[in-house]
């Protein structure tokens, strides 16, 4: 079951970069389409709030 992987090999790359921006810049310089997701650690919450949030999200 590797059809999707073969499709990746044979398509233009379209990349979502989450984290280090250097990877986005390097791909752009190779003319690859990239969008950047800025990531920050989740704030530390009390466990009960975290449980409530994870239910909501």
């Amino acid at each position: 079951m590797v059809e999707k992987i073969l499709k990746l090999f044979n398509s233009d790359l379209k990349v979502i970069n989450i984290g280090l921006e250097i990877f986005k810049n390097d791909l752009e310089s190779q003319k690859v389409s990239v969008v950047q997701v800025s990531w920050q650690p989740y704030p530390k919450l009390e466990k009960e709030y975290e449980d409530i949030l994870s239910k909501i999200l």
Binding site: L6, L8, I18, G19, F23, Q36
Partner: protein, 530 residues
């Protein structure tokens, strides 16, 4: 000091470099206050008591300047850069928003702290994306779960800890610019993938796809899930005509699984290089031949034999007597007490290849990441006899950018090694390609000159050898990098394996040509076993 203030190590490295350019600032560093960083700040005379007491979740801004006002000016400028809001063009704060902007995305690169990776990667897989997972410190349970989820969806999770792939002709993260061709590579070893792809390029061939699986993939707990998927995909990929598999020693059951799968389910030639693993002879089953090699160098020569002309093989290799002739020149003037090799590596797989070769040619070699755990350095910050360091290991990188990007750790270590009168030769890798330092050779030149001056003042010579792993198409341009090294007297080699073999001959002047010939047959020249 800023308490509980996170910025990623690359951003901080960039800020540190910018800070050094501020008028009146003599030296500066902006780092997370990990123990590794505090130790380095102390060596750079940038550690104050406040910094010493900071915890690893705090951020230190350290500035060295001649006056209080210059220090304050420097700190204020750095602080302003830290808190500057990012530009918003092409930037999103959720995966959903990013996908709305790019609904046909087919790959995600994830480089966030490992403990947060599971949630993000699961979400990406659910949305049908393949994932290159650069993050380290992802638990085996998480890796196993993510890879199984990916497999069930027919997708790849390349990683965790996988910083190198070449997909559809594009270099992902830490990869080199090589020509497109028919060699498919599967690697549980990042700089192994880089070395193989670069040498394949040097040999006149090209790469169809090169897939980094992450080192953990070949452990029992994971069972080679991604490796097997990648082999299957390369077998089906019409532009691939030969498959190269590279790894540090897989767990034996996983190695068997990989070999069994390759034997039974592929029709293309398969070249394996399980560095440091027990060597398996070549096998032919159902017309598929599995070629077994012991070094990255040998894996590429074997590959070239199947799909290139013999002339191209000469372009990367060197005969034993040619190597001897070079070494004879380099080792002139060494003192009798200079008898040890010191390896200062930024690439983990290349360090491992060095250990495999030196174990064969000089015997016991110590390391912070040894082949045999009995030869683990007691203290990574102090070399012992023959030592090879992987400076990308955690003890050197906690809260810092990898040494392929930030040369500071190696610069400092080189000076320390140069002070040791028993060192005969220093070897190092210079890794080019996307992701790496923009001028890794240039960044080492001052320290190299300083190291040679230390030796000269002690009435010694100190040969320094390098292997530049990269191509002229890489952003750093290999020929420029080699030129820089040559101006400070460094001898460069076309492969890591040749450099390491040369270092063995420099440190052990009693190795004969006959011994070297035998080594070549087993480790470099793959015609054996056919």
């Amino acid at each position: 000091m800023k308490t509980n203030y996170y910025r990623d190590s690359l951003q901080l490295l960039h800020l540190s470099e910018e800070a050094k350019k501020i008028e009146g600032v003599k030296d500066a560093a902006v780092v997370m206050a990990t123990s590794t960083n505090k130790e380095i700040l102390s060596k750079l005379k940038l550690l104050t008591n406040e910094g010493l007491n900071a915890s690893s979740t705090d951020l230190i801004i350290a500035v060295l300047a001649d006056s209080e006002s210059a220090i304050n000016h420097g700190i204020n400028r750095i602080d302003a850069s830290l808190t500057q809001p990012p530009t918003s063009k092409g930037r999103f704060y959720t995966i959903e928003a990013a996908l709305q902007s790019m609904p046909d995305a087919n790959l995600a690169i994830v480089s966030i702290p490992g403990e947060h990776a599971r949630r993000i990667v699961t979400s990406l897989l659910e949305k049908g994306l393949n994932v290159q997972l650069f993050s380290d410190h992802v638990s085996q349970e998480d890796e196993f779960e993510l890879k199984n989820l990916a497999k069930s969806k027919g997708l790849l999770v390349m990683g965790p800890g996988a910083g190198t792939s070449i997909i559809a002709g594009k270099a992902i993260a830490f990869a080199n610019v090589v020509r497109k061709g028919n060699v498919g590579i599967v690697a549980a070893a990042g700089t192994g993938l880089q070395e193989v792809s670069v040498l394949v390029n040097d040999g006149g061939l090209g790469v169809s796809q090169a897939l980094g699986t992450g080192g953990g993939d070949v452990k029992d707990q994971i069972g080679g899930i991604t490796t097997l998927q990648a082999i299957e995909a390369l077998e089906r990929d019409t532009s691939t005509s030969i498959i190269v598999i590279v790894s540090k020693p897989p767990d034996p059951t996983v190695k068997k699984k990989i070999l069994d799968y390759a034997t039974q389910s592929t029709s293309k030639p398969v070249v394996t290089c399980f560095l440091g693993a027990e060597w398996s002879p070549n096998t032919i089953v159902n017309g598929t031949r599995i070629y077994s090699t012991r070094t990255l160098h040998a894996a590429v020569l074997e590959t070239l034999k199947h799909v290139a002309s013999p002339a191209t093989i000469d372009s990367i290799s060197m005969l034993p007597n040619e190597l001897f002739a070079i070494v004879d020149e380099v080792r002139k003037g060494l003192k009798a007490r200079q008898r040890y090799v010191r390896g200062l590596y930024t690439g983990g797989t290349l360090a491992y290849e060095a250990l495999v070769i030196l174990n064969q040619l000089v015997g016991r070699v110590y390391s912070n990441a040894p082949v045999n755990s009995s030869f683990k350095l007691r203290n990574s910050s102090e070399s012992f006899k023959d030592s090879v360091l992987d400076l990308g290991e955690e003890e050197f990188t906690l809260g810092r950018a990898h040494p392929m990007i930030d040369p500071t750790v190696r610069q400092l270590r080189l000076i320390e090694e140069a002070r040791d009168p028993e060192v005969a030769v220093i070897i190092m890798d210079i890794m080019l390609g996307y992701g790496s330092h923009p001028d890794p050779a240039g960044a080492m030149c001052d320290s190299i000159s300083q190291a040679q001056m230390i030796a000269k003042n002690d009435d010694r010579v100190l040969p320094i050898l390098a292997h530049v792993c990269g191509t002229d198409q890489d952003p750093q341009r290999r020929s420029d990098q080699i030129g820089r090294l040559q101006t400070v007297g460094v001898r460069t080699f076309s492969t890591n394996a040749l450099m390491v073999a040369a270092s063995a001959l420099i440190s052990r002047r009693d190795i004969t040509l006959a011994t070297l010939n035998e080594f070549y047959k087993q480790f470099l020249d793959t015609s054996q076993g056919k």
